[in-house]
């Protein structure tokens, strides 16, 4: 089973159409294996991306370089996944 240890979900707030363009460029970088939960469309809407652990540095550097603001929505996707698995096991047992 694929694991998501260290993967984070970032919420990005673009402040201009230019920053949206930059995020759309990010979307095309397939080697980063980003999972866009909310795609970049206009500055009024946030962009949520699940970033694999291995791509975190590159993505943060990209956002920092272009002065794009973001916050961390989920610190460790696998952590929540483990809680979900535990919940399912206990429900099945019940």
């Amino acid at each position: 089973m694929e694991t998501f240890s260290g993967d984070q979900v970032l919420r990005i707030r673009a402040s201009s159409d230019d920053q949206i363009d930059k995020l759309q460029l990010l979307e095309t970088l397939e080697h980063l294996q980003l999972d866009f939960w909310l795609h970049p469309s206009n500055p009024a809407l946030p962009v949520d991306i699940r970033v694999p652990f291995g791509s975190l540095q590159a993505v943060r550097a990209f956002l920092g370089y272009h002065d794009i603001k973001y916050s961390i929505l989920i610190e460790d996707v696998q952590g929540i996944l483990n809680e979900e698995k535990q919940e399912m096991i206990s429900n099945q047992r019940r």
Partner: protein, 309 residues
């Protein structure tokens, strides 16, 4: 003897368990609920629809589907809770009773069963179907970019590995084609409601273009009333609008197809949450999510019942 009373609606379940629960519902409410198979998935899993009907030929109907994107587990769970709600309250709740005395409801609880099983066993974040294409390492198509509505346009990808890969042609995914065929053959579907999750939106066409549909005013009014009803229970806020204005341009989506096919009341729900859990919404939020969603669904369905066309 079968009974649905022991089924835990507040937990996530395997496909097998969901299908068993659907059988149990059909057995327990056998005069009202039946299970139909409308096709099978790429990996040959049955596509089951629950039909709620009080009888009578050629009745108008409402279509509901959930979980076209496999990982959105709260939607499949919400759909199953909704099935139980409709079945158990017919004859006691005046609104459900009057609705089912007028129309049928078809509910596809697990729209993408291959993806659902894959998200349970291999990759919790799986979103697409599991269809394979010769010569490609990447598997699956985004089934909500595969409908014959602006197919191939903006907001969908031609890259097989992309999570929004549209597929080689419209209706290439058997899961999509099965629904299209069913709706075309039925011929009297008056509402098409699809349930997704994440980001709390209630949307109407269009997504493949950024223009308002002919019925914009009515759809906006109906959508806002539904969102208000939904919000009234737990305060969950929903944004209402066209797909293009509320989220982004996305081509080949189901409600664009259904609207252009002539089903005026075409809506897509995006259920909880706003990002804290993503597609890993804790199970203790299933029932609150289902309860609030039901108020929104009911508001739309009552409008459909009272505004025949």
């Amino acid at each position: 003897e079968r009974s649905n009373s022991n089924f835990n609606y507040g937990a996530y379940h395997s496909l097998e368990s969901i299908y068993t629960a659907m059988d149990d519902l059909a057995a327990e409410y056998h005069g009202l609920v039946s299970k139909l198979q409308i096709g099978e998935s790429y990996e040959k899993r049955p596509l089951y629809v629950l039909k709620f009907s009080t009888g009578g030929p050629d009745r108008p109907a409402i279509w509901l589907d959930a979980g076209i994107h496999a990982r959105e587990w709260v939607t499949q769970a919400t759909a199953l809770w909704t099935a139980q709600k409709i079945a158990s309250e017919y004859g006691t709740d005046p609104s459900i009773t009057s609705l089912l005395d007028t129309m049928d409801i078809f509910l596809l609880v697990v729209t993408n069963p291959d993806g659902y099983v894959y998200s349970h066993t291999k990759n919790r974040m799986w979103r697409k179907t599991r269809s394979k294409a010769a010569g490609s390492f990447c598997v699956g198509v985004d089934p909500n970019r595969n409908w014959d509505a602006g197919f191939g346009g903006p907001g969908s990808s031609d890259q097989r590995c992309s999570d929004s890969y549209r597929g080689p042609h419209a209706n290439s995914e058997v899961e999509v084609k099965s629904i299209v065929d069913f709706i075309k053959n039925h011929g009297n579907i008056k509402a098409f409601l699809t349930i997704h999750s994440y980001s709390q939106l209630l949307m109407y066409p269009y997504g493949y273009k950024c223009t308002e549909p002919a019925d914009y005013r009515e759809l906006d009014t109906v959508g806002k009333a539904a969102a208000n009803a939904l919000t009234s229970l737990h305060g969950t806020s929903f944004k209402v609008g066209t797909i293009c204005s509320t989220i982004y341009q996305a081509s080949g989506g189901s409600i664009d197809w259904s609207y252009d096919f002539g089903i005026k009341y075409s809506f897509a729900f995006e259920l909880r949450d706003t990002g804290r859990y993503g597609f890993l919404l804790p199970a203790d939020q299933i029932i609150p999510t289902a309860e609030e969603t039901w108020l929104g669904l009911k508001s739309i369905m009552e409008h459909v019942r009272d505004h025949p066309y």
